[in-house]
């Protein structure tokens, strides 16, 4: 029991909480920005303005097909080597996850708008609504209702994927766990702290994501009856 590393974890727990805060912060800020930009992108992709559609389509594929870790590295090193900007891992992480999330949500919104029956557009117009009102009162409310389950789902994926930011030196939950492990090993090479620590991480990630997953299922049930 004395080798389990529990005591080391308890001692370092405040640091671990800082890491947890960092993880949640990056995920939360990226998520909120993603929702805002995602809806905007979704509407833009539906404007049927050819050059814009092509550019957005390319970017969409770039962010969905290329793994976020590559984007993190490219931006993190690229900005400092090429543009001689001092890059902050925290800012880069938020940029990358916001872009990734925005295009994911953008595509959801685009898909949903184009699947709405044509007569909804026409009956809005026939009623005398202008385009802005049509989006505000008719299209967006329905899109919000329909896409919410998938968007909440995206939030859990964001939280999980933020663990990658440890690779560009951001002190998130994973990075801090690893440094706690290293220090403990240095003092006690027979410690089992790796196992205990990762078990704890597993629980922590689960505790953040599980309620979101339940929420998503709950909303999905509500929505399907509409």
């Amino acid at each position: 029991m004395q080798n389990s590393g529990v005591d080391a974890i308890i001692r370092a727990f405040p640091r671990l909480l800082n890491g947890l805060e960092m993880t949640v912060q990056i995920a939360a800020i990226s998520f909120i920005l993603s929702v805002l930009f995602g809806f905007l992108l979704g509407v833009l992709m539906n404007l049927r303005y050819k050059p814009l559609t092509i550019v957005l389509r390319l970017l969409l594929d770039a962010f969905r097909l290329i793994h976020p870790i590559i984007w993190l590295f490219v931006l993190f090193y690229g900005l400092s080597y090429v543009f001689h900007l001092s890059t902050d891992g925290y800012v880069i992480s938020i940029i990358v996850f916001t872009l990734w999330g925005s295009f994911e949500i953008g595509d959801l919104v685009r898909g949903y708008i184009s699947s709405l029956p044509r007569h909804q557009f026409e009956s809005s117009l026939a009623l005398g609504l202008n385009r802005r009102q049509m989006y505000a009162y008719i299209l967006l409310p329905q899109i919000v209702i329909r896409t919410t389950p998938s968007i909440v789902n995206l939030a859990t994926r964001l939280i999980k994927t933020t663990s990658l930011v440890s690779l560009i030196g951001v002190q998130d939950m994973l990075k801090i766990s690893q440094s706690i492990i290293q220090v403990t090993y240095y003092n006690n090479p027979t410690s089992m702290i790796s196992f205990t620590m990762y078990l704890l991480l597993l629980l922590l990630y689960f505790m953040i994501c599980f309620p979101l997953s339940l929420l998503s299922t709950f909303i999905e049930k509500k929505v399907s009856s509409l």
Binding site: P117, H119, Q120, E122, S123, S124, L125, A126, L127, G128, L129, N130, R131, Q133, Y137, I138, P141, Q142, I145, L226
Partner: protein
């Protein structure tokens, strides 16, 4: 003349859908447009409130030209306040209940107060016997009920003209009647009605004039009596399954 259409032409790519349409519609009258599917009657209706852009010709509302080239959205918003439309697909908004569907236009387009809009909606729903459905969502209504609400929603905007685009085409026969009765009840209220329908009996009883279209052209404009009992053209006789005698073929 309430609505005047002159030399209207409309094509989709190389396909001519409306070919030199001329039509006069008098205030307070019911005009029924008939013809086979694809003859252009729905497109003609959609040109009247700007859902389709016309290629050539003019449409006048009273004496005002409403189909000016390059007219913007705001122009059509003004026209659509005066020319309402109800169409075949149940076009109530699924995320709003009956009342909200009805007061949206009056409040957002005409900027009337909520109180006034609600009063109006309640009164209209009473008239069509749907007072108890005021908080129901469209998915909880039958097809006939949805169409009656859709008609009320158009009436909430106090239009001068209402266009009906095959409003009973997707309904069970049992429900056709309740919807047609509502349309009939609008007659003699000073409203001008333009109805695209396949319901012959309705057309015969209610129409002031019948417009018969074939292949993108207006072939015959006449009273119901004349149209149904002694149509003047081969196309109309074919449409009505009447014998084609030599006198007409001459």
């Amino acid at each position: 003349m309430h609505l005047t259409i002159r030399n209207l032409k409309k094509s989709f790519h190389s396909n001519v859908v409306l070919d030199d349409i001329n039509l006069d519609i008098k205030q307070g009258e019911v005009t029924v447009i008939m013809g086979r599917s694809g003859c252009g009657k729905s497109t003609l209706l959609r040109c009247m409130n700007g859902l389709e852009q016309i290629d050539a010709g003019e449409i006048y509302l009273h004496d005002t030209l409403i189909t000016k080239r390059g007219s913007n959205d705001a122009h059509w918003v003004d026209i659509r306040k005066r020319i309402g439309m109800v169409s075949q697909s149940y076009d109530l908004f699924p995320h709003m209940n009956v009342l909200k569907n009805m007061i949206l236009g009056p409040m957002k387009v005409e900027k009337r107060s909520k109180k006034e809009a609600v009063q109006d909606a309640v009164r209209l729903l009473e008239r069509v016997g749907l007072s108890d459905k005021i908080t129901a969502y469209p998915r909880e209504l039958s097809g006939g009920q949805k169409q009656r609400v859709a008609i009320c929603r158009a009436l909430c905007m106090h239009p001068e003209i209402i266009l009906f685009d095959e409003v009973t085409a997707a309904l069970d026969p049992a429900m056709v009647r309740e919807v047609l009765d509502v349309i009939r009840s609008l007659q003699n209220q000073g409203l001008t009605l333009i109805v695209v329908t396949h319901e012959m009996e309705f057309a015969e009883k209610v129409a002031d004039q019948i417009v018969f279209m074939d292949n993108g052209k207006i072939v015959e404009i006449s009273t119901p009596r004349q149209f149904f009992y002694s149509p003047q053209t081969v196309e109309a006789r074919r449409f009505l399954n009447l014998p084609i005698d030599d006198a007409i073929l001459k």
